[in-house]
């Protein structure tokens, strides 16, 4: 804010730990090292965090360069409060397994729904690309 009062700028966020939510649903946590005028981000020591229920798992990813348009939101992480979470960290294998199970359950539910609708003569068009806009 010192540089550009009255605007929102990422300059003040450099070298701080951030949580970045991407448009494809991924959550990245890393140190914001560099930005540009399009809000492209360079994340350092990045970790992709997968949440399933009350558990989460971190996959270390190294350095990320994220194109600005793919960011939904980002926020600074308070390092002192970071470990102050009710969530339980598990290993990567476990969380990936949990995620797979969750996805499967969702698909099953979706299938049942579609079937039920079909039985009643209704159909929902596939909303594959609706996420984008």
């Amino acid at each position: 804010m010192n540089y550009m009062p009255g605007t929102a700028s990422l300059i003040e966020d450099i070298d701080k730990k951030h949580l970045v939510l991407l448009r494809d649903g991924r959550t990245l946590i890393g140190f914001l090292r560099s930005i540009d005028q399009f809000a492209n981000l360079v994340l350092h020591q990045t970790v992709e965090r997968i949440h399933v229920g009350k558990k989460y798992g971190d996959i270390p990813r190294g350095i990320f360069v994220v194109r600005g348009e793919n960011v939904v939101l980002l926020g600074e992480i308070d390092l002192e409060k970071e470990s102050d979470t009710p969530l339980q960290q598990v290993s990567i294998e476990e969380i990936l397994e949990e995620q797979r199970v969750e996805q499967q359950a969702k698909l099953e539910a979706e299938k049942l729904k579609v079937q039920a609708l079909k039985d009643r003569g209704l159909s929902i068009p596939r909303a594959d690309t609706l996420d984008e806009y």
């Binding site: 804010m1 550009m4 009062p5 700028s9 070298d15 930005i35 970790v47 960290q89 990567i92």
Partner: protein, 540 residues
């Protein structure tokens, strides 16, 4: 082989970073690594070795490149000595690189994933050093945020509590207990300034009060509020920052795509500098759209109104920044005059002539708004002629206004100028209303009385006439003017009395001297009738 590749990658990017690493950190790093038992058994032996070498080599970036070369050398021929290295054997160089690898936070160690300290995976140095953020002065409410950050009240309270809890013990507890971040300032100040510059350039504008209206207004309000606060109580003036965009002269931008009227698509002529730009076949300046025979009058009027409105906005803009009303600049006066002329108000002597354009402008809602907003800027004589023109054509205007009902906006500005009318002018204006148009049993004034604006204007004019008569006793003498005046008054009174109360419009302002005026000129019975009608209408 894996080990050899690993350090090779990490060596070169770490070259600038290594200079920041102090000896103590290195030791601490070793201890950390030892605790977690990540240490390669080979390297446990080398702690002393690289400690002594560390002094020689870590300060010298040339060494690292030499080391890098040495790595390559290792693969081919271990016996070769790297140039510039102070008598280090390749094996010790190799181990040096190993330690360098450890100094970089190991990105992926799945086997050592521990739930106890998840933060460790990010490496030992977590916090970026910014002591200014942590040491907040007790007076400031929220140090990092400008006046524009609007926090939820709960959030604000939380922050306040934090501040309070922090300030009593800054010397006791170090908020940033970790080491300073070696990766800090990868983005140099120059680069940050560059990004800001780019963003600022995008924001620049020639007319910020137009382009950035909301922020400018907000900032003015804020400054005013702070000035008031300073006057009232708070002595300390908190300077709130303002965004000031730099004014950079934009390079002359040419139209790369030229369109010629009537053609389809782009012109297929290219030069070496501008591939698609045609020869200057396009005339400069405003292009009057060639409307053919099919152009409708109404469109033309609308277009004309738009153009005049733009001029009016310019005048208003100029006046807003400058001093108040009386001191108009020469340029402003010219602008106003130009606009007035373009309105094509008919001259006083030729009131009956087709003031077509003017009336058409006034038939459109926007035209009325235009005239209403222009009136305050006009010099008195111009305004008076406008007023008279409107009065003269009142029936027509009223008729055309039936749909819009927008004439009211003219009343306020016009009423100011009514007081400047001379008796003679007044009579002239009112006379036109008394006419009985051919083929109609109704006088024009009846329609006027049924319209709110019409009746308001009429009352205002009558009131002014009465005032003039009262003030200037010479007018009381029986001359033609006075007779005309009396006739007009009687006629109007009669018309009002004639009309059913419901069709009489409610005036916007009811002058107090109307009833006495009527009393003097008409008989008692009529006055009583008038009273009833007018007051009934007024109540409604």
């Amino acid at each position: 082989m894996k080990y050899l590749e690993g350090p090779e990658k990490s060596c070169s990017p770490l070259a600038p970073e290594e200079e920041l690493v102090s000896a103590s950190q290195l030791e601490e790093e070793e201890e950390n690594e030892n605790e977690e038992e990540n240490l390669d058994p080979d390297l446990a032996l080398d702690v002393e070795e690289e400690e002594e070498e560390e002094e020689n080599s870590l300060g010298d970036p040339a060494v690292l490149t030499a080391v890098h070369n040495a790595q390559k050398g290792l693969l081919s021929s271990p016996g070769i000595k790297a140039p510039g290295v102070l008598g280090m054997s390749p094996t010790s160089l190799y181990f040096l690189c190993q330690t360098l690898d450890y100094l970089s936070p190991s990105p992926f160690r799945p086997t050592h994933a521990s739930t106890s300290s998840p933060a460790r995976h990010f490496g030992p140095r977590l916090l970026s050093p910014d002591p200014s953020l942590f040491c907040s002065s007790p007076t400031l409410q929220s140090p990092r945020f400008s006046h524009l950050t609007q926090l939820h009240p709960q959030h604000q309270r939380m922050l306040q509590l934090q501040q309070q809890s922090r300030t009593p013990s800054p010397p006791a507890k170090k908020p940033w207990s970790q080491q300073p971040d070696p990766y800090a300032n990868l983005m140099t100040q120059k680069e940050k300034d560059w990004v800001i510059k780019v963003q600022m350039v995008q924001l620049q504008s020639e007319n910020p009060s137009l382009d950035d209206c909301y922020y400018q207004k907000y900032y003015q309000k804020l400054e005013k509020r702070q000035a008031d606060e300073e006057l009232l109580g708070q002595r300390s003036k908190v300077e709130s920052l303002k965004l000031v965009t730099p004014y950079i002269q934009k390079a002359e931008a040419y139209e790369s795509v030229v369109r010629i009227e009537g053609s389809l698509g782009q012109v297929a002529v290219s030069t070496c500098f501008s591939p698609r730009r045609a020869i200057d076949a396009v005339p400069h300046g405003t292009q009057e759209p060639e409307i053919g025979a099919t152009s409708s009058q109404r469109l033309r009027v609308l277009y004309w109104i738009e153009k005049m409105f733009l001029q009016l906005l310019e005048i208003e803009e100029g006046q807003k920044d400058g001093p108040s009303r009386p001191c108009y600049s020469e340029q402003q006066r010219n602008q106003v005059e130009k606009l007035f002329q373009s309105l094509n108000t008919p001259e006083q002597n030729h009131l009956d002539e087709a003031a077509d354009g003017f009336l058409q402008v006034l038939s459109v809602r926007k035209g009325k708004a235009l005239v209403a907003r222009l009136l305050p800027f006009l010099p008195q004589d111009r305004a008076v002629s406008l007023l008279l023109a409107i009065t003269h054509h009142l029936p027509l205007l009223v008729r055309r206004d039936a749909a819009d009902q927008a004439l009211q906006m003219l009343f306020q500005p016009l009423s100011k100028y009514i007081n400047h009318l001379t008796f003679h002018e007044l009579l002239q204006g009112l006379q036109g209303l008394m006419l009985l148009p051919p083929g109609s049993s109704e006088r024009l004034v009846t329609a006027v009385l049924q319209n709110q604006f019409g009746i308001s204007l009429l009352y205002a004019l009558l009131s002014h006439g009465e005032k003039l008569v009262c003030l200037d006793s010479s007018l009381e003498e029986s001359n033609s003017d006075h007779t005309v005046w009396t006739d007009i008054v009687i006629l109007i009174a009669w018309e009002i009395a004639q009309m059913p109360a419901t069709s009489l419009a409610e005036p916007l302002a009811f002058p107090s001297n109307l009833l006495p005026l009527f009393c003097r000129h008409v008989d008692k019975q009529l006055v009583q009738q008038l009273e009833a009608t007018m007051q009934l209408a007024w109540i409604y």
